[in-house]
């Protein structure tokens, strides 16, 4: 038996799916968490039931919206045995519009009246029995996160639902009908101003809103680096130990363990950033941040929705680019994706740490901060250019504010894990393979690097970077960094024996130029794959590479030249 779950965004479809099947699907508190259909299998009284959780949608008529298309196409083509229409009890009228539309597909339906607890808090009570009679379909009250009503819902699912007895054809009639039905079954008491309203007043305040937003972001970053740092040290220690343990096999110890290890040390940082963001998202704050930042983003041709992907980019660009899916406006979405690699992900930090430490002792933090800032500026100005000349046209932007909710530990974990996973996959596949390749290139035909394949490659490429004064070692590191930026430091380590030895190779100005170049020059392979998948275009993927190299080269040259005058 196939059951399609349909409902407005953020009404708790996924939470209900988890409650019914005991599954672990990711829940968000930000409209548009489910952007692809998810499938979950469950057994009810021994009967195998397949649930398909469709993306949240307000209606099925707007063809331009990918979410609505996925939902409608599914119902039309796959003809599910049953539609489980999840409805927000605190917003019945609007939700009924979709219900009425679903009835036109002629499939049996069950209505799950979810979020009754929140409705009650808002002073809203719904006569679900009467609603069921009017619609001619079973209606079950549920609170998905507390497992209330789930057993009854399961029983009703086995019974199979009903087709409903109302038929309205046009959009206008549906709106009228939804209003009429909602009025008949809803009792509303006046309640005092809710805490949520008060929070909104503060968070969206003209003067307080932006400082509060930056305060939260600052907290998230402190959490990311300070709280995670003991874990980073621990992982580092384990890797060093392991590497010594296998020292008899250089491919493993110097190649794989050192290579993969250099990536694994970021995992705590990335995971902690994503934990902080998950808490902000699940609490409902992120949607407020979207409003607060909209004005600033609009100056650069983006909208408030671009904020979340841009912030996530500081952790890892891959999940960040995937998060851009929540942006409905196609132009704004593609631009947000294309500029995301300029946001300095955590893999680039070790490069800054190494160079800032070697060349700018005493002002490391200022130099590193400047890199992050430069990344943001390049991203925003590139967005502005792209919107002015390529992706023209004003986007339409509307988003519902979700209610404030207390984040549950399990949801924070699921969200964090899902995003961190991409990074680990990268470590396990691309980096693993590259570590072996690099080891091979640097050890053959001669184990003296200068005469190895890697050395030859470095010498071959070096003239391109001669204007900035980078030698073959650095040129080689940049080539290797195509795969992933963390490989840059790794390569320098292998080539120079000790990465800190770069201090003797460059002037401070050249070092600064090199940092700028690595910040901007190219998205890593995993990010490129994400860009290709999300833009569905080779053209824009290639653009991302060439534009990045162009900007990086230009800025690095300027910085080196100017720096030469100053230092």
């Amino acid at each position: 038996m196939k059951v399609a779950m349909v409902g407005n965004p953020n009404v708790g479809k996924t939470a209900l799916l988890n409650a019914i099947t005991g599954g672990d699907f990711i829940i968000g508190n930000f409209p548009g968490t489910t952007v692809e259909k998810k499938e979950g299998k469950g057994k009810i009284d021994g009967v195998e039931v397949e649930f398909i959780d469709l993306p949240g949608t307000y209606g099925l008529e707007d063809v331009s919206s990918p979410d609505e298309k996925i939902a409608r196409d599914y119902i039309l083509n796959e003809k599910p045995d049953l539609i489980l229409n999840v409805v927000d009890a605190s917003n019945l009228e609007r939700n009924l519009y979709l219900t009425l539309q679903l009835m036109e597909f002629g499939r049996p339906i069950i209505v799950a009246l979810n979020l009754v607890d929140e409705a009650k808090k808002k002073g809203i009570e719904i006569d679900s029995e009467k609603l069921g009679k009017i619609l001619g379909m079973p209606v079950v009250e549920t609170v998905a996160v507390e497992n209330i009503g789930v057993d009854e819902l399961k029983r009703k699912i086995l019974e199979g639902g009903k087709k409903g007895i109302i038929h309205v054809k046009t959009l206008e009639e549906r709106i009228e009908k939804a209003e009429e039905i909602a009025r008949k079954v809803t009792k509303k008491k006046v309640v005092a101003k809710s805490v949520g309203d008060m929070l909104d007043e503060v968070f969206t305040d003209k003067y307080l809103g932006i400082p509060i937003f930056f305060a939260f972001m600052w907290m998230a970053f402190r959490f990311t680096y300070d709280v995670a740092s003991p874990l980073v040290t621990l992982i580092d220690l384990v890797i060093t130990q392991l590497s010594e343990l296998f020292s008899a096999y250089p491919v493993i110890s110097d190649g794989v363990i050192t290579g993969v290890g250099s990536v694994l040390v970021f995992v705590p940082n990335i995971a902690f950033l994503f934990i902080a963001l998950a808490i902000l998202e699940l609490s409902g704050y992120m949607a407020r941040a979207v409003f607060i930042m909209d004005k600033t983003m609009e100056r650069f041709g983006l909208n408030g929705r671009s904020v979340v992907p841009l912030i996530m980019g500081f952790g890892c660009n891959v999940p960040a680019i995937m998060a851009a899916r929540a942006i409905e406006d196609k132009n704004a979405r593609i631009v947000t994706i294309l500029v995301n690699p300029f946001i300095s992900c955590s893999a680039r930090l070790p490069i800054y740490v190494l160079f800032a430490g070697a060349f700018f002792a005493g002002m490391e933090s200022a130099v590193i901060m400047a890199m992050y800032l430069l990344g943001v500026l390049v991203a925003l100005f590139s967005a502005l250019l792209l919107r002015k000349f390529v992706f023209k046209g004003e986007g339409q932007f509307i988003m519902e504010f979700p209610s404030y909710r207390f984040p549950r530990l399990k949801d924070v974990w699921l969200l964090t894990w899902n995003r961190t996973k991409h990074f680990l996959q990268k470590a396990g596949t691309v980096i693993f393979a590259m570590s072996i390749v690099i080891w091979f290139l640097t050890n053959y035909p001669s184990s003296e690097i200068r005469y190895s394949y890697a050395g030859m490659l470095g010498y071959f490429i070096q003239p391109i970077f001669a204007p900035m004064g980078w030698g073959w070692e650095l040129s080689l590191a940049l080539i290797m960094g195509f795969v992933a930026k963390e490989v840059v430091v790794e390569t320098l380590g292998i080539v120079l024996g000790n990465p800190a030895a770069i201090a003797g190779l460059l002037t401070p100005a050249q070092a600064l130029g090199f940092m700028v170049f690595t910040l901007l020059y190219m998205p890593c392979l995993a990010t490129l794959a994400a860009i290709k998948a999300e833009t569905e275009s080779w053209k824009w993927t290639i653009f991302a590479v060439s534009y990045g190299i162009l900007i990086a080269y230009t800025l690095a040259f300027i910085v080196t030249a100017l720096g030469g005058l100053i230092f």
Partner: protein, 78 residues
Amino acid sequence: MVPLALMKEGSKGVVREIVGGRGAYVKLQEMGITRGKEIKVLRSSGALLVAVNGTKFVVGRGLAMKVMVDVSKDREKS
């Protein structure tokens, strides 16, 4: 009638019309911003923060230009 985008913070009105393309119209209808609904502007800075039927929405300025709101004193639910 004035476009929603030009309404002052704290002011109220009744939605009368959605101008512009069918796309914007359908989207707003589906989300519950329909004719005859009372709409309140909670914040206006770049995008607008509005409340309709107890639900809050962030509406981009572009889209808000397309929502025509009756702000006259004798407005009534039609």
